[in-house]
């Protein structure tokens, strides 16, 4: 184990490289979660569409993503995409992560949409709203609010999972730490440093999510 003073010294001397990497990690996470939310919403709506074919498509998507390791998905998308057309590394990684997160988010949305009392849909329909309008104006806002805690959780998982993008040579946090560690023959110090960065990012995210939850909770008070 490195001494504490060595750790601190290395921490500060490497901070520029790590901050760049942390920003890339954050960008990768935010982009992949946002696209993942779109994927998730889309497949959740397919799943509750009451149209068998669409339901099967959604089930197949969730089955494929849940049934295979993320690293395999990243490699398939990265090498698969780059074989067909040129795609920047960042977007290959972001899309792979989005595709992965989307499946879990789809399940979150499906669960929360179905947890909304069916009287809400009936009341909306009885006022002359179409199913689509009722979904958009009445069901989804409530479902989204209920989805926030599990979504925040998925956000944190997504942040940590983004470390796997290191394997397709993204210079995100984990990659920078292992590269610096092996270049300086000091793996443990850099691994401890990167752990601190992840902890800080997760702490900030957790705070943001709970702030957001509180703001949305106005109608419950």
């Amino acid at each position: 184990m490195p001494s504490f003073s060595h750790f601190l010294h290395t921490f500060f001397s490497s901070k520029n490289l790590f901050i760049d990497a942390a920003l890339l990690t954050l960008k990768l996470t935010v982009v992949s979660i946002l696209i993942g939310i779109l994927f998730g919403l889309f497949f959740a709506l397919l799943k509750i569409s009451r149209i068998k074919v669409l339901e099967y498509i959604s089930n197949a998507y969730v089955f494929l993503v849940r049934g295979t390791p993320l690293i395999v998905q990243i490699f398939i998308l990265y090498f698969g995409f780059s074989g067909i057309f040129l795609i920047p590394d960042f977007w290959a990684a972001a899309l792979a992560l989005a595709f992965h997160n989307g499946a879990y988010i789809a399940e979150i949305f499906r669960g929360t949409i179905q947890s909304i009392d069916k009287g809400q849909m009936e009341a909306a329909r009885s006022l002359g709203m179409t199913r689509g309008l009722a979904m958009r104006r009445i069901i989804l806002p409530q479902a989204f609010k209920r989805a926030l805690p599990p979504l925040g959780n998925q956000f944190i998982i997504g942040l940590k999972d983004s470390s796997l993008a290191a394997f397709i040579s993204m210079n995100e946090l984990f990659n920078v730490s292992t590269t610096l560690g092996s270049n300086n023959f000091d793996e443990m110090t850099y691994l401890l440093i990167v752990a601190v960065y992840y902890l800080v990012l997760v702490a900030v995210l957790t705070m943001l999510v709970s702030l957001f939850e509180k703001r949305l909770a106005v109608s419950d008070q």
């Binding site: 009392d117 009287g119 809400q120 009936e122 009341a123 909306a124 329909r125 009885s126 006022l127 002359g128 709203m129 179409t130 309008l133 104006r137 009445i138 806002p141 409530q142 609010k145 106005v218 109608s219 419950d220 008070q221």
Partner: protein
């Protein structure tokens, strides 16, 4: 002048799987009439009411609204629902919207009424149900009786010709029942056509033009209130009244 037929039900059949819930129902409701549907739980009265708003699919028979036969597959069901308001046992207010937002939601989003006008009309309705001071609070802050009055205002905002009430006071604390019934009575006095599923025999006796007793998916007796309560035709009605009054 002959009163208009607002609702005409002919040979209505409804089943859930093998369970036959409505067995050949025939009933007509004329303009400005108040019809109270009474009967034991499971007698089919709520299902009948929900068929009138097409929240339940029927398996047979015809339903006409204002003289026009409605085929839920072919007609634009959303237009018909705008003329038939519905109030639910559990209020079903939209919890993420304030009282005022609950009331203007459908006029603005469905009828495309300008928001200013919708707000002005909503405030009038809230005044009418005595809740104008609650316009900007969320439903979670209201008592059950207040929630139900907001739900009534929300339905009225679509300017329906017919109002359906599905056990509107059954989920309320006893001391809150009166305020909701008073609002409904006021509505009836203004000439609204109403079909009310209820266990409130006092209300039925005072406000209804007709009382319809249902049992086992069939209409047992349809009668004027004073006849129904004081000189029931059917043995079953007598038994029902006896059981109800004993409670």
């Amino acid at each position: 002048m002959k009163a208009r037929e607002m609702i005409k039900i002919e040979n209505l059949q409804k089943s859930y799987g093998s369970l036959h819930v409505l067995k050949d129902i025939n009933m007509t409701v004329y303009e400005s009439e108040v019809v109270c549907l009474v009967g034991a739980s499971g007698s089919g009265k709520s299902t009948l009411l929900r068929c009138l708003n097409f929240l339940e699919k029927r398996q047979g028979g015809r339903i006409s609204i204002r003289g026009e036969e409605i085929n839920p597959e072919a007609n634009n069901i959303n237009n018909i629902r705008q003329t038939v308001g519905m109030v639910f046992q559990h209020f079903n207010l939209f919890p993420h919207k304030t009282v005022l937002e609950n009331v203007i939601e459908a006029p603005v989003m469905v009828k495309k009424i300008p928001k200013d006008q919708a707000i002005a009309e909503a405030k009038e309705l809230l005044q009418k149900v005595g809740l104008l001071d609650k316009a900007n609070v969320y439903p979670s802050k209201l008592s059950g009786g207040q929630k139900q009055r907001v739900a009534i205002a929300r339905s009225l905002a679509m300017k329906p010709d017919i109002m359906l009430f599905d056990e509107p006071t059954s989920a309320l604390d006893p001391q809150l029942v009166g305020e909701v019934l008073a609002t409904m009575k006021e509505l009836a006095d203004e000439g609204m056509t109403m079909v009310v599923v209820t266990h409130e025999m006092g209300f039925a006796r005072e406000v209804a033009d007709w009382i319809v007793l249902m049992d086992d998916g069939k209409i047992i007796e349809r009668n004027r209130p004073y006849e129904f309560f004081d000189h029931p035709k059917e043995q079953h009605t007598k038994e029902f009244l006896q059981a109800t009054m004993l409670k």
